[in-house]
Amino acid sequence: MKIRKLYIDPQVADYPATAAISSRLDAGQVVLADPDEALRDIRNSKNPETAGKHRLIITRNKGPFIRKCPGTSHYTCCDYHILHVGAYCTMDCTYCILQAYFHPPLLTLFVNFREMTDQLERLFKAGPLYRTGTGEFTDSLIWEPVYPLASHLVNLFSGRDNAVLELKTKTTAIQGLLGLTHRRNTIMSWSLNTEKAIREQERGTASLDERISAAAACQSRGYPIGFHFDPMIWYPGCETDYARVARKLFSRIDPGNIVWISMGSFRFMPRLQEIIERRHPRSKIVHGEFIRGADGKMRYFKPLRIRLYRALAEAIRKVAPDVTLYFCMEDDEVWRKVLGYTPARYGGLPSILDASAARHCGLDPDRISEFPRNPVDMPPVPPV
C-alpha cells in the first residue's frame, strides 16, 4: 500500500531515522505544528480506516515501549510482552482488530530508539524471562524496506539469556535479517491461514507459499520459528483446508525448530462489525455462528471452535507430536477437549511457553519461575 502523506512530529524532525525514512518514502511531507493535526485529518476523512493506511506519522513513543499484553478476562493469556514500536498496518485484512482499536487508526512509527533501547536494557537486567514481540499493534516487518528497525532489534536481543524477541508477520520482508548474528534470540513467526482465507480476507499480504518459503529461508539461517493460526475462520470445508496448511508447513519446516504454534479463532469486539460491514460489505466473515463470549467479544459457538481446533491440532500432531501447541485466549474446556490437558497442570501457559522458548532459544532455565525440569514434566502428546 502506498504511503501518500508523511507527517513528522517536530520533536523527531532532526532524528537520523526520520531523515532516512522520509528519504525512502515517495510521499508528501508535513512537519506538524501540532501532532494531533494528523489524527484530526484521519478523523475527518470519509473512510478513516483506509485513510490511516496511506498516511504515516513519525513520532516519539511518549509512553512505555514495553507493555504486558492486555489479554482478556475469563480466557487464558500467554503473558506476552508487547514491544510497542508502532501502530496499524499497511496490509488490509478484513478482520483486523486494529481498525477498531485505535481512535482513529493511523500508521505510526516511533523513532525515539534510544529510549526504547534503554527500556529494553533494563528488561534484560531484570530477573525473569521475557517473551517480547512487536507484532501486536502492527506487523513486525512492514517497515523493513524503509527502515531496518527489526534488524536493530535482532542485534539488540542477540545473546541475551532472559529474553526472546518474536517478529510476527504476514510479509516476506526478511532479506535484511538473514545475515544477522541473532544467536537464536529472535523467533521468526508467521501468521498462517488457509489459502481461501488469505485470498478472501487478508488483502495485500504474502501468499501461504511465500510465507512458508520465507520461514524456510529463516530456518536455513538458524532462526527458531513460530507460527500462529490466528484468526482461524470457519467456512464449509475449512477443517480439511487447515489440515492441508499444516501438511504444507511441515513439508518445508523442521518441527524440531518450531518454538510454538498458536491457535485462535476469529473473535471481535462488537464495534468492529460495523467497520467490517462498511469497508468489506461482501465479506462473510462477520456472519459466522457467533455468540457473545464471557469477555464481551463475539466468538464462534464453542463446540464449533473445538471442532476447528481439533482438525488442525490432529494434523499438526501427526507430523509434529512434540511441538508446543497452545491457544490464544481460550478456556480450560477448549484446552482439555483439544489437547487433553489444561495449562495449570504444567504451571500455566506462560511457563509452558517460557520453557519452550528456553529450550529452543538457549535461554537460562533458572530465569523461568516454574520451568519443567525434565521431559516427564512437559505437556504430553495429546490424545487427538
Binding site: S283, H287, E289, I291, R292, A294, F301, K302, P303, E333
Partner: protein, 330 residues
C-alpha cells in the same frame, strides 16, 4: 402566531373551493381528516378557523389542511378562516407557525417531524441554526436527530409510509433502506402482513441480510427458499404462529450448528423429566461449561424431595449427554 401577523390576519368566511389543496408548502400533518373531525365540524362547525394566505390565484393553507378537507367533504361553501395578505409574512415564519400548530396540538409522528425538519432546512442558510428554528416551532431537534430525519426523507415512499403508520421503527427503516428495491419491497410486505414487533423485525432483517451474504443471493431469494415460505401461506395459522415459524426457520438457516445443538439440549433436558419448580438452565450461548439448576421450594419436605431428585439425576444418561457438549458431524 407572532403579534404582527395576528393583527394582519383578517377573519372572514371563505369558500373551500377557492383553496388550492395541491399547494403543500406548509403542510406538516401527513394524515387526512379523520371521521371524528368531520363529525365534529358537521355538528359544531369550525371551532378554530384555519389560517390561509392569499395568493395570486386563490388561497393557500398555512394551518388547517385537515379542517379544510373536512369542510370540503361536508360540501360546506362558507368556512370561517383567518386570511393573510399575499407575501405579508416571510415563508419561514408561516412554516414555523404551521409546524407549531401541529406539534403543540397532537404531536408529530416520526415522518411528520422529519418532513417538518426538511422544510425548515430549506429555509436555513446554516444547518447549525436548525435547533433554534425548530425550538420556535415547538420541536426539540438535535443535529444528530436532524441527520436521521433527513435520511428518513430519502427512503423509498413505501418505507416512509410504514414509519408514518408506526409499522416499523426508524432503525428498521434505515436497514430496509440499505436493500435493493425488490428486497426492500419483499420485506416491507412481510412486515405489513405479519406485523412483528420492532425487535422481531430487527432480528429477522439482520439474519436475512447475513444469509443473503452467506448464500450470495438476494434477500428475496433467501426467503423464497426458506422452509417457512409455505407456512406463511397457511390460512389455518394465525399471525403469531406464522411469525414464530418464520423466525425459527430463519434462525435455523443462519445458525445451523447452534440451533441443532440447542435442539439436542432441549431433547435431552426433556428426557430428564424435571418436575415443576426444578429447571436446568444452559450457559448463555453454551460458552461456559457450567450449567445451573434452579430449584423452587416452599417447604423443607419439598426441598428434600427435589434434592433427592437432583442427586438421582447425576447418573442420568441424558444429563451426561448434555454435559458432553459435542456437536455431531454434518
Amino acid at each position: 402566531m407572532p403579534d404582527g401577523l395576528k393583527a394582519d390576519a383578517r377573519e372572514m368566511p371563505v369558500d373551500p373551493a377557492d383553496v388550492d389543496l395541491t399547494d403543500e408548502r406548509y403542510r406538516v400533518s401527513l394524515s387526512s381528516a379523520s371521521p371524528e373531525l368531520i363529525e365534529s365540524i358537521r355538528r359544531l362547525g369550525v371551532v378554530t378557523p384555519p389560517l390561509l394566505e392569499k395568493t395570486v390565484s386563490g388561497l393557500r393553507i398555512v394551518c388547517g389542511f385537515k379542517r379544510i378537507q373536512a369542510c370540503m367533504q361536508l360540501d360546506m361553501n362558507r368556512v370561517p378562516a383567518r386570511v393573510l395578505a399575499h407575501s405579508l409574512a416571510p415563508e419561514i415564519d408561516l412554516l414555523t407557525m404551521a409546524i407549531a400548530d401541529n406539534a403543540l396540538k397532537g404531536g408529530l409522528n416520526l415522518m411528520e417531524a422529519a418532513a417538518a425538519t426538511g422544510k425548515l432546512m430549506e429555509h436555513l442558510a446554516d444547518e447549525n441554526d436548525l435547533p433554534d428554528a425548530a425550538a420556535a416551532a415547538g420541536l426539540r431537534i438535535t443535529p444528530d436527530l436532524a441527520r436521521k430525519y433527513l435520511r428518513l426523507l430519502n427512503l423509498p415512499e413505501k418505507i416512509q409510509r410504514m414509519v408514518c403508520h408506526e409499522m416499523t421503527s426508524m432503525k428498521v427503516a434505515f436497514e430496509l433502506g440499505t436493500l435493493n428495491k425488490q428486497d426492500a419491497d419483499t420485506l416491507a410486505d412481510l412486515i405489513e402482513t405479519l406485523r412483528p414487533t420492532a425487535s422481531q423485525q430487527l432480528e429477522i432483517l439482520s439474519n436475512l441480510k447475513a444469509l443473503s451474504i452467506l448464500q450470495r443471493s438476494s434477500v428475496s431469494e433467501v426467503i423464497l427458499h426458506l422452509p417457512a415460505t409455505l407456512i406463511l401461506k397457511d390460512e389455518h395459522l394465525d399471525r403469531k404462529a406464522k411469525i414464530h415459524h418464520l423466525r425459527r426457520a430463519i434462525r435455523k438457516a443462519r445458525y445451523p450448528h447452534l440451533t441443532r445443538f440447542e435442539t439436542t439440549f432441549l431433547e435431552n433436558r426433556g428426557k430428564l423429566g424435571l418436575p415443576p419448580g426444578l429447571s436446568l438452565i444452559p450457559p448463555p450461548g453454551f460458552e461456559s461449561p457450567a450449567y445451573r439448576f434452579a430449584l423452587d421450594f416452599e417447604t423443607c419436605a419439598e426441598l428434600r424431595e427435589k434434592a433427592d431428585y437432583l442427586r438421582a439425576l447425576s447418573d442420568h444418561q441424558a444429563l451426561r449427554e448434555i454435559l458432553k457438549r459435542e456437536i455431531e458431524d454434518t
